[in-house]
Point group: C2
Amino acid sequence: MARQATGAAQRVAVAAETLRDEKFNARRVELAEAALETLGELGFARTSLREIAQNSAFTHGVFHYYFSDKLDLICCCVRHYKAKCVTRYDEVVTTARSRDELTEGFLAKLAATLQDEARMHRLWYDLRSQAMFEPAFRKDVLEIDKSLEAMIWRIATRYAELGNRKPASSPAALYALFDGLFQSALLRHLASDEKAIPDLLDEVRRLLPTIC
Amino acid sequence: MARQATGAAQRVAVAAETLRDEKFNARRVELAEAALETLGELGFARTSLREIAQNSAFTHGVFHYYFSDKLDLICCCVRHYKAKCVTRYDEVVTTARSRDELTEGFLAKLAATLQDEARMHRLWYDLRSQAMFEPAFRKDVLEIDKSLEAMIWRIATRYAELGNRKPASSPAALYALFDGLFQSALLRHLASDEKAIPDLLDEVRRLLPTIC
DNA sequence: CAATAATTTGGACAACCGTCAAGACGGCTG
DNA sequence: CAGCCGTCTTGACGGTTGTCCAAATTATTG
């Protein structure tokens, strides 16, 4: 068919196909978003396709239509999650005009994230742990980890810049530090430890000047 | 019965009971150890009691006899794991007579741990993530986290001491840093990244003098 | 040795899982 | 309008899961 088509017809066909693809992909994202709701509530292990469907406006068959596999669905969820996550602090970084301003903006967002999106973040830690067992997750997880490291690095270099300095440690070490602190605070927060968030803020406030 | 027993008979009965309890508990640990084998291989989510039994010398019924629940079994596994883990660096800490000696001893153990016990550690990270969803895990996990933090702190204070200094950061921040670095290195190592271990060692070698 | 208790076995059970396929629905095209 | 195609629904399938239990086996006690 495609071989016999004229140039114009080919272009139309291609355009139609990419439109279909876009629509298809938009639907995938829509389903992934719905799935994230349940995944954040129950975690990867306890979440079944049926449960996802029941907590959403879709039937469980649709998920099999748009995703070849349960892993395929989860991977799509993870990728979608990444896009949201990685730009969280960018506005603060670009608008802050002083170290204090950056510090306070960063801390405020940090606290809000921990408070409001705890479920999404515990899912992230869940999936990252699963990647240690399930090779299919590794590529996406490592990629997201890299983006998060870059995100932290943008904050740190800007913070250093505002004090005419350079960060005192590597991107990897800096990310490890913040990730470790956040993970610990998240667990404590979920365990109803009311000091989890203030303790994290204090720690970061103390740490920032010493590493940049 | 107990009411009518003489003092001596009571003591005998109590002794017998504690003996039974000890035996019971020893068996629990034995089963937990067998379970850890499969858990480290498959992770928490994919491990069933039947699979555990099949990979061990026990039948699946025994596990239900000694553990009220699957969670009960896992909790016992986690507690047992803790005891092994937390003393790993103690010998190095007590025998090292110089900063270099401590550094090299620590790094050697670190590399060996990552190399030889990767499966046990990914299980630990798995369970810690599960604790964010499953309240029943939280108490044990938080307790182990505390012990690990103390373990790192013992290393750091000793390292500082050998240089007549004091650690420059809090126990929590220091643990977060090392835990973050280790977690990242573990994931990369499991993804067959051959630079994972050397990179970790380089990073820690560079970091140690700056934080103590 | 007999009898009582503790331990172990292996199968049965209902519930749930991921997957699949046959068919229904609705819009678009020829 | 008829036919096709992408989309979606629904129910069924085989397999696995945690749990439970009755019977068998072993250890302990009187």
